[in-house]
Symmetry: C2
Subunit: 192 residues, 2 copies
């Protein structure tokens, strides 16, 4: 048994190495630079090894996305619990979300812009994704306002944040006004 356990552990280690390396490479040079060859070279294995862990590149992106979702959930909850009162909480949440997107652009892309083959907004959505949404909902539900479904409000607020994050990073919005746009969004959207 012990031999098999060691093998399984080593396999799991290597899988983590693949995901971490893919993420690192993507953050350094963008997802286009994450080719199976380059990734294989970095982990010091041949290409086919990647396919013994993942069905293909898409699944590797998906794995990075799940990792990112888990981290984002932690960040969001930490920011929310450190803030006093609904208003401060929503502001902190928005800032933290946008900050995460800015500091981890490749991970953010894996989560929301690229196709990682993950299910969304359905029954079999992976747990980390549901949990990241739940983290948003926990703080946003209380400012949804009367007669507005908390889930629907969270979806809308999230979409707005997502729009700000992607358009800003793509150079579609002037970066210097980012903070003012965030404030406007919080002031207007949240029922305070």
């Amino acid at each position: 048994m012990s031999v098999q356990e060691r093998k399984e552990r080593e396999r799991a280690d290597r899988e983590r190495l693949i995901v971490a390396t893919a993420r690192e490479l993507a953050e350094q040079q963008g997802w286009d630079a994450v080719t199976t060859r380059r990734l294989a070279e970095r982990i010091e294995y041949s290409q086919p090894v990647l396919y013994s862990h993942f069905r293909g590149k898409r699944e590797i992106i998906g794995a990075v996305a799940l990792q990112g979702a888990a981290e984002m959930a932690v960040s969001l909850r930490a920011a929310a619990s450190a803030a006093d009162g609904p208003r401060a909480r929503v502001t902190a949440l928005a800032r933290t979300y946008l900050d995460f997107a800015e500091r981890n652009p490749a991970v953010y892309d894996a989560m929301f812009r690229l196709d990682g083959g993950l299910a969304f907004a359905v029954e079999d959505t992976p747990e980390p994704l549901k949990d990241a949404f739940a983290a948003l909902l926990e703080s946003l539900g209380e400012v949804a306002g009367d007669g507005v479904h908390p889930g629907l409000f969270t979806e809308t607020f999230w979409a707005a944040l997502h729009g700000l994050a992607t358009l800003t990073r793509a150079g579609r919005l002037p970066p210097e006004d980012a903070e003012r746009r965030t404030e406007l969004l919080v002031d207007r959207l949240a029922a305070l």
Copy 2:
């Protein structure tokens, strides 16, 4: 002179054909299916011909984006002028924007998701893009509210719409609540 003029006309025709074909192919099968080979085959020329019109695939995407921006501006203005009063105007604007994104997903991607090599939010931004933003601003400026810069408000509102458009189409948001999210956005964000 006449011969040269005819040639220039034919060249311009062929360029339009390339852009129209790329757009058609992208709408039918997605941008991934728009390969230089397939595109060349459809216009019944060899690959290198494409490169005598455009620097590369990116520029073709850019050309489709500009065409789309022009059409979107027309749609937005038509919707705005057909509505009575600020509230109806903003609602019509939001619906028209999201409708455009839903009916022309490939064009929308070319405009805002893919890299078409176009400059944004700067001096030398192509005219159609500036004009599409202007069309938004014309209707949104009046509901920015006191002390809020119309441009900043338009950017924020646009980002929210963009987030709804992309997340909905990517299956990240349940499509059946799209209309309710739009209403919520308009109700809260616009100062009416």
